[in-house]
């Protein structure tokens, strides 16, 4: 039997009737048309479906839609606000951190979550922050650089270069 939930997705309240076994990833993709959130495994291994749920990066394929009743969800579609790309998205574009692009939305949501939580993440914090997001194309180098470019360049623990790093 379907259950009624109320969830804020990208700052819009949605009143929805959902099957109890539907995942948040499927709700976003197939019911709401928010297909920027990708599915690469459906078992919480690849991170392509990463969204920010109540301030934390989660695999939306491991969250049931009914669990998001009353919650706040941010997806990749909520990041660019109409004035063009969000700075993190722009950094991914500029640094060549995107190849096939299938992991990119999830990767960018994890990157945003790192930067929401730490203004100046160290190399290690950046690596850990995206360790649940698999990328088979890039070897992560340019992703590290893109995320680092959004930190202060004064952080001595950050070797990938800061704001002024030239690509």
């Amino acid at each position: 039997m379907k259950r009624i939930i109320s969830v804020s997705i990208n700052n819009e309240i949605h009143e929805l009737a959902v099957e109890p076994n539907k995942t948040l990833a499927d709700l976003l993709r197939y019911d709401l048309g928010l297909t920027g959130t990708k599915k690469g495994c459906d078992t919480g291994d690849c991170g392509a479906c990463t969204v920010i749920l109540n301030g934390d990066a989660v695999n939306s394929c491991l969250v049931l839609a009914v669990q998001t009743d009353g919650a706040t969800v941010e997806t990749i579609e909520g990041l660019s606000n109409g004035d063009g790309l969000h700075p993190i998205q722009a950094a991914f574009v500029e640094h060549g951190a995107i190849q096939c692009g299938f992991c990119s939305p999830g990767m960018i949501m994890s990157a945003k979550n790192i930067l929401d939580k730490h203004q100046n993440p160290s190399d290690q914090e950046i690596r850990q922050g995206i360790s649940g997001n698999l990328c088979r194309c890039t070897g992560y180098q340019k992703i590290f650089k893109a995320i680092s470019s959004q930190c202060s360049d004064t952080n001595p623990g950050n070797n990938y270069g800061g704001l002024h790093e030239k690509i």
Partner: protein, 786 residues
């Protein structure tokens, strides 16, 4: 050196803003009105006769629209190479691996389709199964395919020069083995497709594929359709690495379901099915003997290899040839022999993966070069430079290196890694190692025997002028080819990149063999350049005619027409242009005539301006059997240095840093070249350190997910210094050649040589699990103390 306006830059990729915002459409993002969902029934047994299939219960389930087996799908054989067509859409008489397709269902929802699949009843008679090369080659072993005795799917025997004589003349002879494990492509987007069949009997397949052209041909052949009524297109594709470089049975089943139901049908592999389908890198067992003189001259190479092929041939017949043909270079070598055997067994088929066929052979050979260097007291870099081929050299198996910056790559990694300071001076447990490699820049011949062009491109100028539309059937799968072609078109036309729009990946746009064998930059790049030149020439001819000046006095640069002195009076042309755009606010008032004006005038005179381009390589290679495999109009090459730490107590290896130099000819987009190099290194590290598809004793994949199949994560990846070495490739557009696959070649042997430097052990089996390295260290310590 020639100055470029667009290429040779770090332009942002044209597809990345859409990919960064989630707007880029991949196949599973597409939903069509009335769309049905398909599911496959796949064999639970590794080897069994099919006695009967009963689909009646499935057909009766509410919501089911079609159930198909080989009765509906037919028995036409297909595969990758016409020399080895050994698959049918659905198993007919027997199944040969766990996952072999038996039936498919289309239903109004995926849940119902999957329920219906479970209701199909198949009666099997189990047959004995074989899972290893050794078992499959035993006398009396169960046979997978009637026509292939001894389960030998393909064998190759080649000799160039005189290997026995070369070994006799050698002062040092090294023989070692190297064994790898079966890989998975582990692209993040699982294969998926949508088939539609319209009222005029046109079949359209939208698929996550690297090769729309080959998929189109396979569909037409297998389903007996007029090829003009089959269209294959790809949306954005979440990478492929070779595994998506052929038609898969799901695509074909999806087409049959759409034809039966006359509705769009969507099908996806689950991650488990991606592993079940396989088609990634084979498991290789090499035995290589290398002979050299005391002065370091390599004299002879004797190579034997067994490939664990799985149940069908897939790319395997090409793989087994590539394994031999791409080994001798990049070194001068007169005597080389190769005996290769690809063996069937009851596991999923293996196929092509980045560095097709050549990666593990190189891991073996490049270790031997280090062993020889050590024995004669020569620096490994010096030994390699001493034997290195030069630009213009041809290998003993007739591969011509028309440009070859290999020595420059070695010098770049020597400097970039601080090799001279580090080699021999690192503490115990720390090591540095290097290796070289090369790879084709596009297969010299199509997979099917044909005189076809390998790529055709259309460049159409918009009728209002100013924007160039590039149409190519090539496949952007993440490597950046769309951007490369847009840049080549912009450079050639002489207009800014933002004035180029590009559409690709659709068989309606022409012929393009697709994204495999690192071919697109060179081949589709050539066709793009030619099409853009053709379009530009038509515009220039009209303008020359109108202004009554010789056409060779005009060119286009940065969006403006450049005239040789004296600059003619073009005010009539401008007036004519402006008169047609009354009320427009962006009419030109530049000192120079714009390309936009010129192309509008050209349209007014000639109608739509369409430039066409095409490319096929010149005749390549020798005359011997298999000479075509390994040929290419150009070869990329690379050198890498790996720095590692080995824990001498536990056998844990960590890779600290990689210095990678690659000669890609002219870099069309510098950032994209580095991206390919870094990605190659990460895949090489995964294969060296962690990756292995593991089976149980019934032929089921045990680690069929991305948690237990250990690809490289952000925590594993060392820093990489990617150094782009540019050469001028005479056969490449603007001098460009490959980077996508050649860059993986040296990674594994560089790591292996670094481990030897750190721990004194030579590793002959991958992946380098702590257990395997620990045992090697223990054996080494025992040997030392004995």
């Amino acid at each position: 050196m020639k100055k470029f306006d667009v290429i040779s830059s770090r332009a942002s990729r044209i597809d990345s803003p859409d990919k960064a915002t989630g707007k880029a459409v991949f196949v599973d993002d597409i939903c069509m009105p009335g769309m049905l969902f398909g599911a496959l029934l796949q064999s639970p047994h590794a080897h069994a006769k099919i006695i009967s299939i009963d689909t009646s219960k499935a057909e009766k389930l509410n919501g089911v629209k079609a159930v198909i087996t080989s009765k509906e799908a037919g028995n036409i054989k297909y595969g990758v190479s016409p020399a080895r067509y050994d698959e049918t859409i659905f198993a007919i008489d027997k199944v040969r691996y766990v996952g072999d397709e038996i039936a498919a269902v289309a239903a109004v929802s995926l849940d119902i389709a999957q329920q219906a699949v479970r209701l199909i009843q198949v009666e099997y008679e189990l047959l004995p199964a074989v899972f290893t090369v050794e078992d499959a080659m035993k006398e009396g072993a169960p046979q997978l395919h009637e026509n292939f005795a001894g389960n030998l799917s393909a064998e190759v025997h080649q000799e160039f020069g005189n290997v026995e004589e070369g070994l006799k003349q050698s002062d040092i002879v090294k023989t070692t083995m190297m064994k790898s494990k079966r890989q998975d492509g582990a692209f993040i987007e699982m294969q998926g497709c949508i088939a539609e069949y319209d009222n005029r009997n046109i079949l359209t397949l939208t698929s996550s594929t690297q090769v729309p052209h080959y998929v189109q041909r396979t569909i037409a052949m297998v389903l007996g359709l007029d090829i003009g009524k089959v269209r294959v297109k790809k949306p954005y594709v979440g990478a492929g690495f070779g595994i998506k470089a052929a038609a898969n049975p799901m695509e074909l089943a999806c087409c049959v379901l759409a034809m039966q139901t006359k509705k769009p049908v969507k099908m996806n592999y689950t991650r488990e099915q991606v592993f079940m389908y396989g088609r990634a890198r084979h498991q290789f067992s090499h035995k290589i003997t290398t002979g050299a003189k005391k002065d370091g001259t390599i004299m002879a190479l004797k190579h034997e290899c067994y490939l664990d092929g799985g149940a069908y041939t897939s790319f395997g017949i090409a793989t087994v040839y590539y394994t031999g043909s791409l080994l001798g270079g990049p070194y001068k070598l007169k005597n080389m022999s190769y005996d290769g055997y690809r063996v069937y067994n009851n596991k999923p088929a293996c196929g092509a993966q980045r560095g097709h066929g050549a990666v593990i052979a190189r891991a073996c050979f490049e270790q031997q070069l280090d062993m020889i260097a050590e024995e004669i007291g020569m620096d490994p870099l010096t030994l390699r430079i001493k034997n290195m081929m030069n630009t213009g050299d041809t290998t003993c198996n007739d591969l011509n290196m028309s440009s070859f910056g290999m020595s420059e790559c070695i010098e770049a990694v020597r400097k970039g890694s601080g090799w001279d300071k580090k080699k021999g001076n690192l503490p115990k447990g720390k090591g540095i190692g290097m290796a070289c490699g090369f790879f084709v820049s596009g297969a010299g011949y199509p997979i099917y025997r044909s005189d076809t062009f390998h790529g055709t491109v259309i460049v159409k100028l918009t009728e209002d002028g100013g924007t160039a539309l590039v149409y190519t059937a090539s496949a952007e799968i993440g490597q950046g080819s769309d951007t490369a072609f847009a840049m080549i078109a912009a450079e050639t036309l002489g207009i800014p990149l933002e004035n180029v729009r590009l559409a690709s990946g659709d068989t309606d746009m022409g012929v393009d063999l697709g994204a495999y064998s690192s071919r697109q930059t060179l081949m589709t790049g050539h066709a793009t350049k030619e099409a853009a030149e053709h379009a530009k020439q038509q515009v220039l001819e009209v303008i020359a005619n109108q202004l009554d000046i010789p056409v060779q006095n005009i060119d286009v640069k940065k969006g403006f027409i450049e005239f040789a002195d004296p600059v003619p009076d073009f005010s009539n042309l401008r007036t004519r242009y402006i008169k047609e755009h009354r009320g427009w606010t962006d009419n030109p008032d530049f000192e120079k005539l714009t390309f936009k004006e010129a192309s509008r005038i050209a349209f007014l005179e000639k109608g739509s301006i369409v430039g066409t381009g095409k490319y096929k390589p010149h005749s390549l290679g020798g005359k011997f059997k298999g000479a075509a495999v390994g040929t290419s109009p150009a070869y990329g090459c690379s050198a890498q240095v790996a720095e590692v730490t080995v824990d001498m107590e536990t056998g844990q290896v960590s890779i600290d840093h990689i210095t990678d130099a690659h000669d890609c000819g002219k870099a069309i987009n510098m950032t994209s070249v580095e991206g390919q190099m870094e990605g190659s290194v990460s895949m090489g590290i995964g294969e060296a350190m962690h990756e292995e598809v593991i089976f149980d004793d019934k032929g089921c994949v045990l680690n069929n997910d991305l948690a237990e199949y250990k690809m490289v994560t952000s925590m594993d990846m060392p820093t990489v210094n990617a150094i782009v070495v540019e050469s001028d490739e005479p056969n490449g557009p603007y001098g460009a050649k490959e980077v996508g696959e050649g860059a993986i070649m040296p990674t594994i042997p560089a790591i292996l040589n670094a481990i030897y430097d750190a721990a004194g052990v030579r590793m002959f089996e991958l992946p380098l699990t702590p257990e395997r390295v620990y045992h090697a260290i223990q054996a080494y310590k025992e040997k030392l103390s004995a």
